[in-house]
Structures are given as C-alpha cells and as structure tokens.
Symmetry: C2
Subunit: 209 residues, 2 copies
C-alpha cells in the first residue's frame, strides 16, 4: 500500500493517526498542496477529485476520502478496534464522527479557506475554482466557536467523544482542534473537559503522526 | 425501533429508502420542519442537533446522522448488503457515497438553503441561526451542475455508482437528484448514462419510500 499525503493538512493527518493507532506503516508520497500539486496531471490521474489523502492498495486500486480509507484499513486490520464492534456502537461512533465533522471541522474549514491568501479562488476543495466569500469567514468562526462548546459539553458527558473508549471520533476531533489553530482558535479557559481530553489524547504516541 | 422523519426532506428519505431495500418497517413520527418543529423542546430533547432523521432503538438509544443510522441497520440486518462485504468494497462504497454527498448533494443544499424563503436565518442545519448568503446560491448551483457532470461520467464507467451492484451510494445519488428538483435542476438531455440509471433506480419499489 501507499499513502498520498500532505503533511500539514488535517484530513491526511486523520488517516496517519488512524494508521499509527493500528501500527500500520506504508510508503508515503507527499503531494504539495502549497504549490497546488494536486491539480497537476500526474495527481489528477490518481485522484480526479484532487484531494489528499488517497490510498493505493496492493492491487493498485485507489481509495479516497479519509473515512473510507479508515474503514478499509479497519477491515484489513481489525485490532485495535476504532470503528465499533456491535451494530449500535458502530452507529454511535459514526454518528459522533460526523457530528464532529459537520458541527466543528466544517466551520473551521469555512473560515480558513475563505480567508487564507493561499486559497484565493480555491475556497472549495475540488476541480472547480470558486472565489472566497468574505461572509463565510465570520460564519465559519461562529460555527467553530459553537463547535468548541459542543465538544466541551460532550466531554462532560463522556470520557471520549463516542463514549468510554478512544475511537476514530477522537482522532477527528483532535485533528480539528489542531486545524482550529490555523484560524487562531482554541478551547476557552473554562473548557475544562476539553483540556482534560486534549491532555489525554496528546499523550498518545499517535498524536505526533 | 422508531424513526423520526420529515417526509419531504432528503436525508430522512435516504434512511427510508435504505429500510425499504431491506424490508425493515418501524413506526414513524413526523417532525414538521415546515413549522420548525425540530426546534421545539420536545424534539431538542430527542436530538439536540435538531435534525431528522433520528432513530430510537428498542433500548431507547437515539442515533442520528443518516449514514450512521444506515450502518446500524445494516448491522442488525445484513441482507441484502448495501454497504459492502470485503474491506475494499466497503471502502469503495463509502468513498462513492461521500463523493456524492460532497460533490453533488452539498452544492444543491447550499443553493437551496440560501435562496428558499422558508430558510431565512436558517441557512445552516443546527441550533444556531445564520442568515442566507446570496453568493452561495450561485456557487451552489455551479457545484450542483458539476455534480451532474460527475454523476454522468461515473455512470459511464460503471453500471451503479459504486460499481456493478446497487448500494447506499445509489440511494444517496437518487435522493440528491430528487432534491435538485427543488432548485429546478436535473440531468441534461445529453446525460444518457444518468437517464439510464435513473430509469433503473426509479423502477425499484424502494424509490417511492
């Protein structure tokens, strides 16, 4: 297998952290989003949707979309389980993972992509060019703030995002917290639950993946 | 089990069509998004993220997020399989389902929620109110048009969205095509692959779910 990666970007980091938790190693090729290398013919032939991560299987199949890649890897190497064992647990973990994506990570991305000078005309991932929309910066920041509240509330109910153990939802939330620093946001001083959880997750070897 | 539903909305329809394919039946309660009933205390207590669908399990657990609910139901009743059997097929189906969501359905939703008078101050699903952003209407329409091209291209490569059989990715794409009519968009006359596929999917009993 081989991973097409960009070290700084949040989505490939989700897959790298997932791999580290499972002890999966594979060759990694950097696709330099900083020079828009994902739009070069070479990479478009690999992933026409021009995004990383992309995983090449041993049979030469290409898988894209972070969550899909993680489901593939969990199927290949079920332990340690990160996606649930019973139908209910699988559903709950996926529910929390998507809530973190939609209620937290999406707002951060919205604020970031519509304000950063490197993303002029690239406000949406994909082959089409779209200009930045200034109104989305404020909206994204407001959504990100709400996401930090949601995260702290949830971590007051449960030790980890999806319940009483570490799962893919913690990976997504942890990487989203790192991504939030790109727009200079972080948990508030009173987000004690989030601080406790961040300390726990940061101490895992996979946190540096 | 019990499904909290809103008959007209696209996401609950994804779950109903998934259930119909599996022959799963359960009591359904309508949450009238037309009168913003999802924001009433009664429903906020059920789903604090104020969206349908939500599924109540026999043990009283609440699951939300269409895809998470479908994964739960697939676990309870594996046949007919709609989410893949091998790790690779699971990954491919999830990849295509997410591509349809992100490259097609998201654009339609963007155009719809930012233009429809019933969604003034409700341009984003969730507890927070956000004003409509007129620039997102044009951007959403452009993304939806690109989504129709993508769909037709894909259906030139494969009989169904994720490959040679019907899966959840076809459900998502079929419901997205119905949703597109809300912004008066549909496949172009030259989208012969999409027309062929739409005829096939429309003939399934689950299409009226």
């Amino acid at each position: 297998m081989k991973l097409y990666d960009y070290e700084q970007a949040p989505n490939p980091r989700r897959v790298r952290m997932f791999m580290a938790e499972k002890g999966i190693e594979m060759p990694v090729e950097q696709v330099d989003l900083g020079t828009r290398a994902q739009l070069n013919d070479y990479f478009v032939a690999i992933n026409p949707f021009v995004a990383v991560p992309a995983l090449e299987t041993d049979d030469g199949e290409i898988l894209t979309e972070s969550t899909a890649i993680c489901h593939y890897l969990e199927g290949l190497q079920p332990e340690p389980n990160l996606l649930g064992t019973t139908p209910l647990e699988k559903g709950q973990i996926m529910m929390w993972d998507r809530r973190i994506e939609l209620e937290f990570m999406a707002g951060i991305a919205e604020a970031f992509r519509n304000s950063n000078p490197n993303f002029v005309s690239r406000s949406v991932i994909g082959t089409q060019n779209f200009e930045q929309i200034p109104d989305l910066v404020d909206r994204g920041i407001a959504r990100a703030h709400a996401g930090f509240e949601m995260l702290n509330d949830r971590l007051g109910e449960a030790e980890y995002i999806a319940g009483n153990r570490f799962t893919i939802a913690d990976i997504t939330a942890f990487i989203a917290c790192g991504f939030a620093r790109w727009i200079r946001l972080g948990p508030a001083d009173y987000h004690a639950n989030t601080q406790r959880w961040l300390d726990t997750i940061s101490a895992r070897p996979s946190a540096s993946a």
